[in-house]
């Protein structure tokens, strides 16, 4: 390999982390050249597995001195390119930092290392009747560190919010190698700037998490999962608004269009009818009497808005199967065409029906196949372009289609990304939502904290 990082620097890195934690083979570089994002890749110079925060601090100091970049990485399931290498970088692999350090039942908090897998935390806290709501689609492998860095959402966002609503404290290695702690177990804390929130969603550009304090809540007593089938997307969209306007906040309202339904059914064989136009997957949770009452009202809402059929899951297993199938949607869509470019626009939920119409029209205009699914309840849609990276003409039409979808989403008062982050994939559209002055402000912050631009450079925006 033609290296940009000198052998001397690699030797120093090896001294810092131990040679067993430094990987420089071409095979290793190739297998860390990507994350879950399509169409982007870059070989890193090396993959480094630090084992202590002091080692991370030393690596960061070395990067400033020797001018190489550091890209932190969890499980590499990101969908905006946040953990894809940049030229002249080392990958900081945090996946082995996988210990749940403490579950504090008196304060309802948990200290975790950043490499803890999200669903493992779910299982551990649920054993003792507690609940950590954020549940991204890749929760069986993605890490809490990555979730905080991207401010991930999930199926339960509608009622419970997203990762940022559950982060109470962070230990962070700054771009100059200093280590700070911010936030803590106090529910109220207004001492100084709210630095903790500042790092959430910073996509690895402002600091490296070494410890994360999460808020837990009591586990809902029971839940009910429902499926409603529709003949038109407009009916499904209107149903969402109707439910919310009845002052019911289900924990989940997921939308799947026909293309997505077909692919999901082909993978999971759970008996979804493949000839329906669209469906909503709904879940209410909480106290049993409230759940019963709300479920009835939801069924009524669905029927009033022309649902052709409403089914209620009879067992917990059936409900889990439905949700698991939904989580497979993004990858299952690759059954139709090999390259799936997934977007993540979000609009105010009252505009869901309008946005779905716009997506359909844009798909037609650019002659690209788009499967749409998403968290209809919180306005977060994942229009997914089904294409083939080997067909350059189609890829370019897909890119144009997305640009138009972004513009329409912003016009409706929405945003270009709800939960995947800006990363590499969406940075050229960031100005549509934030405006140029806001990006300039972000640059000022980045430059102040990371003057040598060593932490995940070129992500979110260019300097």
């Amino acid at each position: 390999m033609n290296r940009q990082i000198s052998q001397n620097t690699l030797s120093t890195i090896s001294l810092i982390v131990g040679k067993e934690n430094l990987f420089t083979s071409k095979e290793d570089a190739i297998s860390y050249s990507y994350d879950g994002t399509p169409l982007h890749s870059q070989l890193p110079e090396a993959i480094v597995r630090p084992t202590t925060k002091d080692q991370i601090s030393e690596l960061v100091k070395l990067a400033n001195k020797e001018h190489f970049s550091i890209v932190p990485r969890g499980a590499g399931t990101g969908l905006s390119g946040g953990s894809i290498p940049v030229p002249n970088c080392i990958i900081l692999d945090m996946s082995q930092w996988n210990k749940i350090l403490e579950i504090d039942q008196e304060n309802l908090t948990s200290w975790v290392e950043p490499g803890v897998i999200t669903s493992q935390l779910h299982q551990e806290v649920e054993k003792i009747g507690l609940f950590y709501p954020p549940d991204p689609g890749s929760m069986n492998i993605c890490t809490i560190g990555g979730n905080v860095a991207e401010n991930s959402g999930g199926l339960r966002g509608l009622k419970y919010g997203v990762t940022k609503n559950y982060v109470m404290g962070l230990e962070v290695v700054l771009p100059n190698g200093e280590i700070i702690s911010c936030g803590g177990k106090s529910v109220k804390d207004v001492a100084g700037y709210n630095l903790k929130d500042f790092f959430i969603g910073s996509e690895g550009t402002l600091g490296i998490f070494t410890k994360i304090l999460l808020k837990l809540i009591p586990k809902p007593e029971t839940s009910k999962t429902m499926l409603a089938y529709f003949n038109t997307q407009a009916d499904a969209g209107r149903t969402v608004s109707a439910i919310i306007s009845k002052k019911i906040i289900p924990c989940t309202i997921e939308f799947l269009d026909n293309t997505t339904i077909r692919c999901v059914e082909e993978f999971s064989h759970i008996g979804l009818p493949i000839d329906i136009n669209s469906l909503l997957l709904l879940e209410v949770d909480g106290h049993s009497t409230v759940v019963e009452e709300e479920a009835l009202k939801i069924v009524e809402c669905c029927k009033q808005n022309n649902a052709t059929e409403v089914k209620i899951a009879q067992t917990v297993e059936e409900a889990i199967k439905l949700k698991t199938a939904r989580r497979s949607a993004f990858s299952a869509l690759a059954r139709t065409r090999p390259t799936t470019i997934l977007e993540d626009i979000t609009v105010p939920r009252s505009e869901i029906a309008t946005m779905l119409e716009k997506i359909a029209a844009i798909s037609k205009k650019y002659n690209v196949l788009i499967g749409t699914f998403g968290h209809a309840g919180d306005g977060n849609l994942h229009p997914t372009c089904l294409t083939d990276e080997r067909d350059h003409d189609e890829i370019s039409r897909a890119e144009k289609a997305y640009e138009e979808i972004f513009i329409e989403a912003v016009k409706l008062g929405g945003t270009i990304t709800g939960e995947h982050g800006t990363g590499l994939a969406k940075k050229k559209f960031l100005h549509l939502v934030t405006g140029y002055t806001a990006i300039e402000t972000m640059r000022t912050i980045k430059k102040a904290l990371d003057p040598n631009n060593i932490l995940n450079p070129g992500k979110v925006f260019d300097i």
Binding site: F23, S25, K26, E27, D28, I30, S31, Y32, S33, Y34, D35, G36, P38, A75, G76, T77, S95, Q96, I117, S138, N140, I141, C142, C263, V264, E266, F267, S268, S328, A329, F330, S331, A332, L333, A334, R335, P338, T339, T340, D388, E389, R390
Partner: protein
């Protein structure tokens, strides 16, 4: 993809379409046993796919590191079950191994093991018979006992010492020495089924085969065991030796299609998985393409077959605690997991207990426990922890490799559990 630069060559190369189909979402990572060991991307399905893609694009040579990763994979195909996009990972890794073989890039040890076992002993019946007879004599003569207890041997060749403990017990009489070509049931036959005696199963699991035959006869099957049949070729194909696998497949097609069969019933998951794929391996062969598809269409795992025709109700209750381990080549390669569980649960009296991580590989994986002993044992340890937790009296596993491997785990860890094939359990239940 720029295929003109590819470092693969010939006809059996990893498919470009399958490579492109992987969207590297990472949903395969949590089910991969080798990724669980190293935590490194290159030991994961999507990592390996990326490596194969790089060789196909000409940006990576078939390096030693590449070869090591291809051989480190168990080919358990748990990733295929987990993959929502439906990427046929197994076909990629097997084609890559075929390329490694054709381009002579295997290490000397692997090459030797593959040559001894795959090209010779298992593919050539007379050799397998001779070797097995010798192994049988060795195992029953007291020599083995002496070897096992010999501290000198343990010191001198620790690897050989461990490996010999893993060798299957050779049956006194081979299966095809016991049974004629056609076996008739007591009642009027309702079905005519073909039966594969196979290679290892024939010499080391003759007793399991016998149990299967008894069960089939009990279900009014006329059983045909074609004399001219050979090893199914599964170990060869999974290790990338497509040439030998195709030769064996053709011989079996000729041997089985001579008879008018309702089904070809398999009691070895690995063999069943491959025979269902004959159509794929012989695709495009002018003479055998169609015949292969015809044969594959008839192949059924024993549990699949019994589920279809209906299990006879046993005369007596069988009040025991029973658990079930999914052989990779049943659940992942053939997508069979419901049938065996439902059948076991339907036996009156049985207290069925689900094995945690039942679909996680046991580490046997063909000759993997010979070529990768240490890794195979790490994987077995994980399996054994779950096995012990069931506190079952019987653990059902429908593949010879799994039976040997988990039995070995039990003997190493002093676990008192009967590791049985479903046929053996049924024979006990029916008191046949």
């Amino acid at each position: 993809m720029k295929t003109e630069n590819s470092n693969f060559s010939g006809i059996d190369i990893p498919s470009d379409d399958v490579l492109t189909n992987c969207m590297h979402c990472g949903l395969c990572l949590p089910v991969c046993p080798t990724y669980a060991i190293t935590g490194r991307e290159k030991s994961s399905p999507r990592g390996r796919i990326r490596l194969i893609k790089s060789v196909a694009e000409g940006t990576l040579d078939i390096t030693q590191g590449f070869v090591d990763e291809m051989n480190f994979c168990l080919d358990c195909q748990a990733c295929e079950t987990a993959c929502p996009a439906g990427v046929k990972y197994g076909s990629l890794v097997e084609s890559a191994r075929n390329q490694i073989r054709v381009q002579r890039k295997d290490s000397e040890f692997t090459l030797m093991m593959k040559w001894i076992f795959l090209r010779n002993i298992l593919s050539k019946k007379y050799l397998l018979n001779i070797v097995s007879k010798l192994l049988g004599i060795y195992q029953s003569s007291g020599l083995e006992a002496a070897f096992k207890n010999s501290l000198v041997v343990k010191k001198l060749t620790p690897k050989l010492f461990k490996l010999q403990l893993l060798s299957p017990r050779i049956d006194g009489r081979f299966f095809d020495e016991i049974y004629p070509e056609i076996v008739l049931p007591r009642n009027t036959p309702k079905y005519t089924v073909g039966f594969l005696s196979g290679c290892i199963m024939n010499v080391a699991f003759a007793h399991v085969h016998e149990d299967t035959i008894k069960v089939l006869l009990h279900h009014d099957c006329r059983v045909i065991i074609p004399k001219k049949q050979v090893c199914c070729g599964s170990l060869q194909a999974h290790n990338g030796d497509f040439d030998v696998a195709r030769e064996l497949a053709k011989k079996n097609i000729d041997a089985f299609l001579k008879h008018d069969l309702d089904a070809i019933v398999m009691d070895s998951a690995g063999c069943g998985a491959l025979m269902k794929e004959y159509g794929h391996y012989l695709h495009g062969d002018p003479e055998y393409s169609e015949k292969a598809k015809q044969l594959s269409g008839k192949v059924k795992d024993l549990t699949e077959f019994l589920y279809e025709i209906g299990l006879k109700v046993p005369a007596k209750q069988f009040s025991h605690r029973v658990s079930y381990h999914d052989a990779c080549h049943l659940i992942h390669a053939q997508k069979i997991s419901k049938e065996p569980r439902d059948l076991i649960k339907s036996i009156p009296g049985i207290d069925f207990v689900e094995l945690n991580e039942a679909s996680w590989c046991c580490g046997s994986a063909g000759i993997y426990n010979v070529t990768h002993y240490e890794d195979s044992m790490k994987i077995l340890d994980r399996k054994m922890n779950n096995v012990k937790e069931t506190q079952a009296e019987y653990l059902v596993a429908n593949n010879p490799g799994c039976l040997t491997q988990i039995e070995y785990g039990c003997s190493q860890q002093q676990v008192n559990m009967k590791i049985v094939h479903f046929s053996t359990l049924l024979r006990t239940v029916y008191e046949l």
